[in-house]
Structures are given as structure tokens and as C-alpha cells.
């Protein structure tokens, strides 16, 4: 006969995953990217407006931090490029998935939804690519010279 042992810990039962794993992946992405963005955006704000100071902030700071295009960069400059690269990437994709949720609520027609999401994804991914490329390449030298001269 089976005996009951109320104090025995309940073992975690494994459960198989369903076929549709996309929504699960997106849900997890929103949680983790949201947490990461909270840290990235707040530390960016703290650095720009508290450590450097709102009134001392110039484009020179940005040039020093990112380094000039075509020149070799320091480890610190690599860090800042990665830092902002990750922030741009996460913010844009986080926003794109949020937009997808809203569009799914309001655009009941499947064709309209697909066209809207294709256009939105293309625009957002293009803007993201532009941002990331700008970060990888670094600050434009002639533009920077003009900025420093001002």
C-alpha cells in the first residue's frame, strides 16, 4: 500500500515543449532585454547627466569615448561602442516585438497585419543596422573636426 508522506518535497516534473516555441522565445526576450535596457539606459543617463554633467556635455565627449573612424581604438573605446551597440540593438528589437503585439490586437485582417509588420520590420531593422554600423565605424573624422572647431 502506498503511504502518504506530507513532508516529502514535491519533485519538479519536466514538461515537454509545444510545437510553437516562437512566442515563448519572444516572451523571454522581452523580459531579459527589458532588464538589460533598464540597466543600460539608466547607466547611460547617469554617465551623461550626472558623472559628465548635463551642462558640460559636448560632442567632444562622444568623440573621445567612441574614437574616430578609421583609427585604431583603445579597449575603453571598444567597450563604449559595444555598450551602445547592444543598447541600440536591444531597444529596437524590444520595440519591434512590442509593436507586433499591438498590431496583432488591432489589425484583424491577416494581409493588412502581414504588410504592416513587414514594412515596420524593414524600417526598424534598417534603422538598427544604420545605428550599429555608425557605432562600429566610429565618429566621422571630418564631421568631428567641424564639431571640435565649433
Amino acid at each position: 500500500m502506498t503511504t502518504m508522506n506530507p513532508s516529502a518535497p514535491r519533485p519538479a516534473r519536466p514538461i515537454p515543449q509545444g510545437r510553437n516555441r516562437f512566442e515563448r522565445a519572444m516572451w523571454l526576450f522581452m523580459r531579459f532585454s527589458g532588464l538589460a535596457l533598464l540597466f543600460l539606459a539608466l547607466s547611460h543617463f547617469g554617465f551623461q547627466h550626472i558623472i559628465v554633467g548635463t551642462h558640460q556635455l559636448t560632442s567632444e565627449d562622444t568623440i573621445v569615448r567612441w574614437g574616430l573612424a578609421g583609427e585604431s581604438i583603445t579597449l575603453a573605446q571598444l567597450f563604449w561602442r559595444l555598450y551602445y551597440g547592444v543598447m541600440v540593438l536591444l531597444a529596437m528589437l524590444h520595440g519591434l516585438n512590442g509593436l507586433r503585439q499591438v498590431a496583432y490586437d488591432y489589425l484583424k485582417n491577416k494581409v493588412v497585419y502581414n504588410v504592416f509588420m513587414a514594412a515596420a520590420a524593414a524600417l526598424i531593422l534598417a534603422a538598427t543596422a544604420l545605428g550599429v554600423i555608425a557605432l562600429i565605424v566610429g565618429v566621422n573624422a571630418s564631421g568631428a573636426a567641424e564639431a571640435l572647431a565649433r
Binding site: 515537454p16 515543449q17 512566442e23 488591432y106
Partner: protein
């Protein structure tokens, strides 16, 4: 006895082009239920008012409706708690088709309920006696056994209003009751439904469902536990 001005949203699709407000003055006790005021209208003022109710004691879940803008059971709320400046506003549940007045078509709601297989799934032989379960295992899903399927939660959910395809809080609560039951083995099939794009991921944690539940079930928490089970691949 006090005088209550009832403002009831009326709609008869066979006669009316659009819903209209029916206004009625009734005399009731402050300790009467909102349902008693509705009975007063139907039995003594206007017999054409249509509403659904059965047990009238908060158990069958038939008379869920919007009372002063919140999903409530009419048999569960007292006049003195709902009356605002001498008036109570009553509307049918949102998000489901109105058949007449306060009666909505519950079929889409029950279709979602059926989709999560709301029954024990276990093909193993239990032997000569019932399947045993420890008090702790039973306590794990106690909260979600309280559901009476009144649809107050599902029809208070903005995701459900926007998309009727969303399985909805009530169906997830019912699924939770079996997924977290140590005797059940049907989690895989249920999570196939709940892990889909119209499953638990449609929930944006608005908490309307928890606020609406007349049984005090922590609906949003239950949905969160199902999400966590799918995300981690483990039922704890």
C-alpha cells in the same frame, strides 16, 4: 427600503438597431442583492428584460455582468455596496456577442474552456483504489479549483476584448488546475494549446482578471505560473 435608480443597457437584436439605456426606479432593501433589484424590474416593471441567473447564491456563475463598470456577479453584490448617488449602472459582459439585454453568447468562452481539456488525463491503472495525493500536492492547485466559469475574468481582459481568439484567463485557470495536479499526465497537450500564439503569451499582466474574480482566485498569478512552467519546462 431605499429607492434605487437602475440604468440597464438594453438590446434586442430583433427590434433594436443599437443598444439603449433602460431606466427604472425600484424600492429595495440596502442589504438586498443587485440581482433582487433586477428581479424587481423583470417581475414588476418590464417583463421583457432578459437576464441569466440560476442558483442566485454565487455558486453557478450564471449572472456575471458589468455592474458600475466592473465585472461582478449580480447575486454577489449588495445594493448598499454598489449604489452611487442613488444609481446603479448595469451592462452585459464585454467581448462576447449580446443575445439579448444582459445575456451574452457564452459559446466562444466555453470553446476556449474545452480546448484546454478540463478533465483529468491519466491512462495508467490506479489499482484497486483512488489515486492518492499528499495534502501539499493538493494544496498546489487549490486556488484554481474555485473557478465557477462565470466569465467575469475573461470578459474583463483587454487582450480578450481585442482578440477573441485569445484562450483567456478562465481557460488558463482551468488548465492550471490540471497542469499542477500531481495525478494528471495531460500537461503536454494542454501546453500545446497554451504555448501557442493565442495562449498564455497574450496575457500582458493587466490584473483585471484578478480584480474581477468573484471567487477571489489569484488569476494573474496562476497565468504567471503557467507561463513559468512553459518557459522553464518544469512544473513545480
Amino acid at each position: 427600503m431605499i429607492k434605487v435608480h437602475l440604468k440597464i443597457k438594453r438590446f434586442n437584436p430583433e427590434k433594436d438597431k443599437k443598444p439603449w439605456w433602460g431606466e427604472y426606479d425600484v424600492e429595495v432593501e440596502p442589504t438586498d442583492r443587485v440581482l433582487d433589484a433586477l428581479h424587481e424590474v423583470k417581475w414588476n416593471i418590464d417583463g421583457t428584460l432578459a437576464l441569466r441567473r440560476s442558483c442566485a447564491h454565487g455558486v453557478c456563475g450564471s449572472d456575471a455582468m458589468r455592474i458600475n463598470g466592473r465585472n461582478r456577479l449580480a447575486c454577489h453584490r449588495l445594493i448598499r455596496d454598489e449604489i452611487q448617488n442613488g444609481q446603479i449602472t448595469i451592462e452585459p459582459l464585454l467581448g462576447l456577442r449580446v443575445i439579448k439585454d444582459l445575456i451574452v453568447d457564452m459559446e466562444p468562452f466555453f470553446a476556449h474552456y474545452r480546448s484546454i481539456m478540463p478533465y483529468l488525463v491519466n491512462d495508467t491503472d490506479p489499482g484497486p483504489r483512488e489515486r492518492l495525493q499528499s495534502p501539499e500536492d493538493r494544496a498546489r492547485f487549490d486556488d484554481t479549483t474555485k473557478c465557477i466559469l462565470c466569465a467575469a475574468c475573461t470578459t474583463s481582459c483587454p487582450s480578450f476584448w481585442a482578440r477573441g481568439e485569445y484562450v483567456g484567463p478562465a481557460a488558463i485557470v482551468q488548465a492550471h488546475r490540471f497542469i499542477f495536479d500531481s495525478r494528471d499526465q495531460g500537461a503536454a497537450e494542454r501546453l500545446e494549446v497554451l504555448g501557442d500564439s493565442n495562449g498564455v503569451w497574450r496575457c500582458r499582466t493587466v490584473f483585471n482578471c484578478t480584480e474581477a474574480c468573484p471567487r477571489g482566485i489569484e488569476v494573474t498569478k496562476a497565468i504567471g505560473e503557467v507561463k513559468q512552467a512553459i518557459a522553464s519546462g518544469k512544473v513545480r
